[in-house]
Amino acid sequence: MNITYDKYSLIVDGKRVFIKSGAFHYFRTPGEEMARDRFFKMKSGGYNTVDIYFNWNYHSAKPSEYDFSGIKDVRKVLQAAKDAGLFVIARPGPFINAEVNAGGLPFWLLKMEDVVPRNRIGTEYKYSPKYMKYIAQWYDQIIPIINEFDNVILFQIENEYATDTMEEEYMRELYKMARDRGVTCPIFHNDAYFAGLWADCVDIYALDLYPYINPNQNWRQDNFCFDTLDNVEEIFRSAKASSPPFIAEMQSGWFDKWDGSGYSHIREALGDEHINIMTKTALSQGVTLFNHYMTVGGTNWGDLACDEVYTSYEFTAPIDEFGVLQNNFFKAKEINYFLDSFDFTCTEPKDFEFYQENIYSKLRYDNINNCDWLFLRNLNQEITDVNLPNGKVLKFAPYDMKICPINLDLYGCKIEFSDVEIFARLKNETEEAIFLIADKNAKLYLDNGEIISGEQKDYKKYEYVRNGKKTQFIFITKSLANRSWFMGDRIIFNADYVLPNGAVAVDKNTEIAYFDLEYKFGKKNCIVNAFSDTARAIALEISDVEFCSPEIDTDYDYSNWKKISEKTDAFSCDIYDEFIWYKARVPNTITEITLSARHLFAVYINGKEVINRNSYKLEKLQEVPETISVPLNKNILVKSENELTILVQNLGFDKGFSGDTNSPRGLVSFETTPKMPVEFFVRDKLSIEHTKKYESENPYLAKISAEFDVDIRKDVFFAKYISFENFRCRRATIYLNGVKIGRYIKRRNVQEKFYLINEFLKPHNKLDIVVWEKERNIKSNWDFKSDLKNVIILLGTFKTCQLFK
């Protein structure tokens, strides 16, 4: 594939292409089948490109070791994208951020001497040849795989990078490394500061735009958050006049954090108006390449998450974590279909004298369709009459944005002006059908003086013939539009979604309608037989409760654990797992221990808990280290030599955007009073991940088990979850068939529903939930076990659809 560009757009094999991309994380949506499902949904929603970060850390657990097998096989992901008919934007970092653990840098790299991650300390540039050597290793692995796929159209180096002095050496070297390894498509970088950074080091200048990053902010009220977007064409032109305006990350959702406001709040706060405004304003600024970040939500299973985020990376994306289409998907779909219907790849800004309070306007001349498009946005809180200079008065809903054609010549008529939204256009040599979204406040004005009201019922049709060519306007209501699918040569109505091969998915018995220009309307009944009522969640029967932390027991043999000296943090121990165990012997002469651990920890002496603490704290966006002193006495230190056990839960390394990826984790410091050397033995993971024999006497970590069956059929899409709504315990780690799929920590707006990732589901499933509870809640071991047997865990279904060919 030959990819070039000019100041208007990307040109693929000589043809201008509007890039409508969506971000997808294969590591958070693991496995080929899940990737296919999400890519098909993207394609049917009108996206033509998928943006893929390649996560170095995910593939490299040890120096010189790379794993691209099984669910880490990125070839299968890229092939799935190709099969879905999507182009790919490849973003292999080396640093990717993405709220992943250590920003995607391998843990082993972070501890290497002379390696300066990202060649910077804070904002100060510090070139590290050794860092560059390891990047070359990563690029040697990943770029040949990327190069196997000719649908890769763009390649990104680094991610949102800047230093105080902006030396170009690092970026130029990355560029050269990519080219030397055979990357032939245009290379870009995403400037997070929209300041023209690195424009001279890459082919295409691109930037990231997130106007809403504070969930406490109300963008409807503080609507100036779009200021940058409203002027973005000027930024692009002054940064690099020769390349097309490209928003490499355009906000289509936002991530939630520990102690955040919760995804339901963020989704509600953004509404589907936000993605509409973002995307249409970008179009009004001449943008011809955009990438909705994220288009597909994901799950931080395993140890994927950085410390900031919890298990769900739902991101309020158009396709949510569970693969279910949300309202912002339907809005994005409308815009994508519109862009498929009218080629927008070559437009120019045009003067337009107009001012009305809180109304944004922008006029563009369209070199291809030979018409003007007027972009209008209403940021008033109420329905507003917009009085245009052409005498037309629009009744504009609050926070809406429209693209209005002016003097648009069609086959059978000419639109003088219209604020009725165009959904999609089918056309052949002599006939076109333009589907419009009914809107009681909108009107379509033809140049012959005829006015068509937007208040219409489904399928209401108007026909115009001129010089043997015909235009039909066919209205559909918004609710039908959400269930309508533009397939290029036909439209399918009433489906939950469709696949690129035309298969339709429905969640109940449905009469599907089809329209194409040859046969017009047709119908087909889809009778759902694959599932009965799945709306109600059922309580799982707890089959077993076991205590599972033999490490805390006094007779536990830890002689084969790794012995460490002096430093006890994760890097020094070379252990990067979520859980790290420390064992040591301490005399009864000590009166106090002082320790700092990231992030949650408990100390046990002779098998009894002395402290259990959550040390994770962020203040003003910075991690706040905590040092705790624990007084000890003869009642605790009952022997002359006492067994000390510390369990630390590491919630992840910093993502590296504003903090340091190599901030220490695990037991960061430990001292006794009086001061004396302590020799620690360390090991990673909980026992259930190591061995089947994990029964213990102590009750501090308990495993609750349940089993359930799932009917897995090729023709059925389903998304299942377990719910902790009435869960009384404070912390839990969830394993599905032995794979760690989530961590539960009781906080404000805690995540209660956990996705049972389809890739890890089997017909018969085992769920293990390891509860790490504070002692104060444990009256007696027997009572505690019996308590846990009565824990209510609900198994539910978000969505089920059956596919029909």
Binding site: G122, T165, M166, Y193, A195, Q217, D222, F224, L621, Q622
Partner: protein
């Protein structure tokens, strides 16, 4: 502290705007970075004189806002292209010739944002 390169933050300061006043100093800012909020004035330091929030006023959009009134709960909008004047009182600090200025404000999304520039009077 957030990784915004210094050279970008410095662009907010209006070069040549530092002035001596009767009992302090004033200087001008212009937001050329992007729309946002100021959720706190930590301090302004001119040469060796530190003005905490109680000694700082910000005049923007025709309104005078005391530094202590600005907080996480009561942030002030600072739009792209918006200008404002910081007025520091309580002690003289500006000298003829080169002056070292440090302004530290809080931003709800970025945390501490520190601007450090030199200006000649």
């Amino acid at each position: 502290m957030v990784v915004v390169p210094e050279f970008l933050i410095r662009r907010i300061y209006q070069k040549g705007s530092l002035k001596k006043t009767d009992n302090g100093a004033s200087l001008d800012l212009k937001n050329v970075l992007g729309p946002g909020f100021i959720s706190g004035f930590n301090y302004v330091k001119i040469n060796d004189v530190v003005y905490d929030a109680s000694k700082v006023k910000f005049i923007t959009n025709g309104k005078e806002i005391a530094g202590v009134e600005v907080s996480e709960e009561n942030p002030i909008a600072f739009r792209l292209g918006q200008t404002g004047t910081l007025i520091m009182t309580g002690k003289e600090s500006v000298v003829d010739g080169n002056n070292k200025i440090v302004i530290e404000v809080m931003n709800p999304e970025a945390g501490k944002v520190q601007l450090s520039v030199d200006d000649i009077v």
